[in-house]
C-alpha cells in the first residue's frame, strides 16, 4: 500500500477545488477515488478537518455507499450484475464461473493484482443480459465462453 504522505497533496488539492461547492462530500470522495483508485483511510482525517465534520461522519458516508473503497483495487475491476434480468438469463451460472476462473470471491483482488471482482445491481443493460463491466466498458450477452475470451484478452494486454 502506498504511503499516505505521497497521496496527501492530491487529497488536499481535491479538497481545495471543492471548497465552495454545496453538498461537496460525495464529489470529493469521487475525486479522490477517481485519482487514487481508492480512498486511503488516512485521508479521512484531512477530509473531516476540511469540511468541519467528525471522522465518524466521513467514515459513515464512505462505508454507506457500495462504490467507494478503502483498499487499492486490482488493475482491472470486473463487475457482475446480480439483478433479476441477468438472473433470468443464467447470470448465476456466469457468476459462479467467474469466481472460479478468477479464484476469488466478491470484494477480493486476485493474488497477481490484475483483477478485482465486485457485485453490481443493474447496469441498465437488461435488454442484453447477462451483463458485466470491465473497468468502464459494458459487455452484454456474456456467456461463460465469451467471458473466458475477454479474460484472456485483458490478461494478454497486461
Amino acid at each position: 500500500m502506498q504511503d499516505y504522505q505521497t497521496q496527501k497533496p492530491t487529497v488536499l488539492e481535491i479538497l481545495n477545488t471543492h471548497q465552495a461547492m454545496p453538498g461537496n462530500l460525495l464529489p470529493i470522495l469521487h475525486g479522490i477515488q477517481d485519482t487514487l483508485g481508492y480512498i486511503p483511510p488516512a485521508a479521512v482525517v484531512d477530509i473531516a478537518k476540511s469540511l468541519n465534520l467528525s471522522q465518524a461522519e466521513v467514515h459513515g458516508v464512505i462505508s454507506f455507499y457500495h462504490y467507494f473503497r478503502e483498499t487499492p483495487p486490482g488493475e482491472h475491476t470486473i463487475r457482475i450484475c446480480r439483478a433479476e434480468s441477468c438472473q433470468a438469463m443464467n447470470g448465476k451460472a456466469l457468476e459462479t464461473h467467474v469466481k472460479q476462473q478468477l479464484g476469488i470471491d466478491f470484494h477480493e483482488t486476485t493474488a497477481d493484482g490484475i483483477f478485482s471482482l465486485e457485485p453490481v445491481y443493474c447496469l441498465g443493460n437488461c435488454a442484453c443480459s447477462p451483463s458485466i463491466t470491465i473497468d468502464d466498458e459494458v459487455m452484454g450477452r456474456v456467456t461463460t465462453e465469451k467471458f473466458d475470451r475477454l479474460l484472456a484478452t485483458y490478461k494478454g494486454a497486461k
Binding site: F64, H66, Y67, C86, A88
Partner: protein, 514 residues
C-alpha cells in the same frame, strides 16, 4: 458525403458498436468512399444492435445486427447506397415493433446526434421552452396539470400538483432535482434518454425551473451510467454556449443553472428523500415525511424531485399542449409510458406506447415470447419491488389502477421476463436479500425484517415447520408493508408474496389458490 448512423448507446456499445464504427470508418476511407459517421442514440430494437443506418436518396435504411466482420462485405455490397444485403432491414421506422409505438418522449432518440444542439433544434427541440418563456409560471403549471402526467419514476404522483406546491412555497431559493438513479433491474429508459437525447431532459428541467422559480438544478446520476454522464455533460456545455442555460436564457431575463452529480452505488438513493440526503453529502438515509421535499427539500428549500422520464415528457407537453398529451392513455393514466422489455425475451428493447395495451400483447406480439423458446412463466413488472405476475394475469392492461387492483405496480415500466426454468422461491429469497443489501437501515421493519425474511424463506424451502413458517412469513411481510418508512421495506413484500401466492409449489407448498 453519406451520413451513416451507429449508436453510442451503452447497450449497442455492449454488443460491439464502437468496434463496428471504427471498422467502418477505416475501411470506407481505405476504399476511398466518403462516409460521415454520426453517433446517435438507439432506436431501442436491441436484438438488431449494433444497427447501422444510412442516409440515402430513398430515405434512411438500416442494416443489423452488424458485427465487425460484416463491415467489408456490407461496403462491397453497396451499403453507402442502401443496396441489398442479408442484413438489410429497410426503413427501421416501418418495422412493426417501432411503427406501432407512440413516441412522444422518445421522438428523437436514435434519430438525431444526441449532443448536437443544431440537430436538436432542427427536430422540434426547445419549442416547449420557447412557449414556456412566453407564459406566466401558473400557466406553465396548468399545462402540466392538464396533461394528466403522473410521475414516471414509480409512485405515479400527479406532476402538476407537485409543481404547484413548490410554486406556492415562498422561499429565497428553490431547486429542481432530477432523479436519475434508475436502479431497478429491467429498466433502462432513463439511461436511453440521457444517452440518446439529453437535451430533452435539460429542456424539461429548464421549464420546471421557470414554472416554480428555481434557478438551480441538479441531475443525480447513478455511477453505473458513465456513458450517460458524458452525453449529459456534453449537452449541458452546448446548452450553456448557446444561451439555453445560465443567466438571461434566450434574452428572457430568466436564469437556470444545471449540474450533474454522481451517486455511489446505493439503490436506496433512488428514494427521493435519500437522494436529497446524498446530494447534501450525507449517507442516503430516508427522511420522515412530512415535511414533503416540495416544502422542505434540498438544503431545506422547496424542491421539485422528478424522475428523468417525467421531466423529459415536459417539452412535448409545453410544445403541443396539455390536452394533446392527455389524449393518449386510458382512465387516470394519461399520455405514454416508455416500457422496457428485458430478461428472457426474444425481442428486448424500448417500447413507448399509450397506457392501455395488455401485457400479453407486448410480450408475444412485440416481444416475440421468451428468448430461450420455452414458455414464459413469470413476469416481474416495475423493478425489484414489483410483483411477479402469473400467466393468468397477462391480460391486465398497462394502467396504474388496473395494476394496483391485482396488487402489482407498473413502476418505471420495466418488464423482466422469466421462462419456466425459474425457481420462484429463489426469486422471493433474492427480493429479501436485495432488501438486506440495499436497506438504508433507518427503520427496523426494513433493516431487520428483510434479514429475518431470508431466514424464514430458507426454513420453508428446507421443509422446517412449513405451515407455521409460511404464516410467519406473511406476518413479517405485513409488518414490513405497514411499518416501513419508505417503499424499500414497504414494497419488498410485493415480489415475495406474489411469488408465494402464485407459485406455492416452488416453496414446496400445496397450491392454496382460491
Amino acid at each position: 458525403m453519406t451520413r451513416v448512423f451507429i449508436s453510442r448507446d451503452s447497450t449497442a456499445l455492449s454488443l460491439g458498436a464502437e468496434q463496428v464504427a471504427k471498422a467502418l470508418e477505416q475501411q470506407a476511407s481505405s476504399k476511398g468512399l466518403s462516409a460521415e459517421i454520426v453517433r446517435n442514440g438507439s432506436r431501442g430494437l436491441f436484438w438488431l444492435e449494433p444497427l447501422v443506418e444510412v442516409e440515402t436518396s430513398q430515405g434512411r435504411v438500416a442494416y443489423g445486427p452488424v458485427q465487425v466482420e460484416d463491415v467489408a462485405p456490407l461496403l462491397d455490397a453497396g451499403l453507402l447506397d442502401g443496396k441489398q444485403h442479408p442484413l438489410y432491414l429497410g426503413n427501421i421506422e416501418e418495422i412493426a415493433y417501432f411503427k406501432n409505438q407512440n413516441r412522444l418522449t422518445f421522438a428523437r432518440v436514435g434519430l438525431t446526434d444526441p449532443v448536437n444542439i443544431d440537430d436538436y433544434l432542427a427536430h422540434d427541440g426547445y419549442r416547449g421552452l420557447k412557449n414556456a418563456l412566453a407564459l406566466q409560471a401558473t400557466e406553465i403549471v396548468k399545462q402540466v396539470t392538464d396533461s394528466g402526467l403522473r410521475g414516471r419514476g414509480g409512485a405515479a404522483f400527479p406532476t402538476g400538483i407537485k409543481w404547484n406546491t413548490v410554486l406556492n412555497a415562498p422561499a429565497d431559493q428553490k431547486y429542481i432535482v432530477c432523479n436519475a438513479d434508475e436502479g431497478d433491474s429491467g429498466t433502462f429508459s432513463d439511461r436511453m434518454i440521457m444517452e440518446g437525447d439529453p437535451f430533452v431532459l435539460i429542456e424539461g428541467m429548464t421549464i420546471a425551473g421557470l414554472a416554480v422559480g428555481a434557478t438551480q438544478g441538479y441531475i443525480y446520476l447513478r455511477v453505473e451510467y458513465p456513458h450517460a454522464k458524458i452525453a449529459l455533460n456534453q449537452a449541458i456545455e452546448a446548452a450553456y454556449k448557446n444561451g439555453y442555460l445560465g443567466e438571461n436564457i434566450q434574452n428572457s431575463g430568466k436564469t437556470f443553472h444545471l449540474e450533474v452529480r454522481s451517486g455511489a452505488g446505493a439503490y436506496i438513493c433512488g428514494e427521493e428523500t435519500s437522494l436529497l440526503e446524498s446530494l447534501e453529502g450525507k449517507r442516503g438515509l430516508v427522511r420522515f415525511k412530512p415535511p414533503l421535499p416540495a416544502i422542505v427539500g434540498l438544503f431545506g428549500k422547496p424542491t421539485i424531485v422528478n424522475n428523468v422520464i417525467s421531466l423529459a415528457s415536459i417539452p412535448v407537453i409545453l410544445d403541443k399542449g396539455g390536452e394533446y398529451y392527455k389524449n393518449y392513455g386510458m382512465g387516470r393514466s394519461r399520455g405514454t409510458l416508455p416500457l422496457q422489455l428485458a430478461g428472457n425475451i426474444k425481442h428486448p428493447g424500448l417500447f413507448e406506447v399509450a397506457f392501455g395495451m395488455t401485457l400479453r400483447e407486448l410480450l408475444y406480439d412485440y416481444g416475440g415470447g421468451s428468448a430461450s423458446g420455452r414458455p414464459i412463466r413469470a413476469v416481474q413488472v416495475g423493478g425489484p419491488l414489483g410483483a411477479y405476475l402469473h400467466e393468468s394475469q397477462f391480460d391486465t392492461p398497462l394502467d396504474y389502477e388496473a395494476f394496483a387492483a391485482i396488487s402489482a405496480v407498473l413502476g418505471h415500466g420495466g418488464i423482466v421476463v422469466h421462462d419456466d426454468t425459474v425457481n420462484m422461491a429463489d426469486m422471493a429469497r433474492y427480493a429479501m436479500e436485495f432488501c438486506v443489501e440495499e436497506s438504508c437501515g433507518k427503520c427496523t421493519p426494513c433493516r431487520i425484517g428483510s434479514t429475518r425474511g431470508v431466514e424464514v424463506i430458507d426454513r420453508i424451502v428446507e421443509g422446517v415447520q412449513k405451515d407455521k413458517n409460511t404464516v410467519l412469513l406473511r406476518d413479517l411481510c405485513d409488518t414490513m408493508t405497514y411499518g416501513s418508512l419508505c417503499a424499500m421495506g414497504g414494497m419488498t413484500p410485493f415480489p415475495v408474496l406474489s411469488a408465494l401466492n402464485h407459485f406455492p409449489e416452488d416453496f414446496g407448498l400445496q397450491s392454496a389458490k382460491a
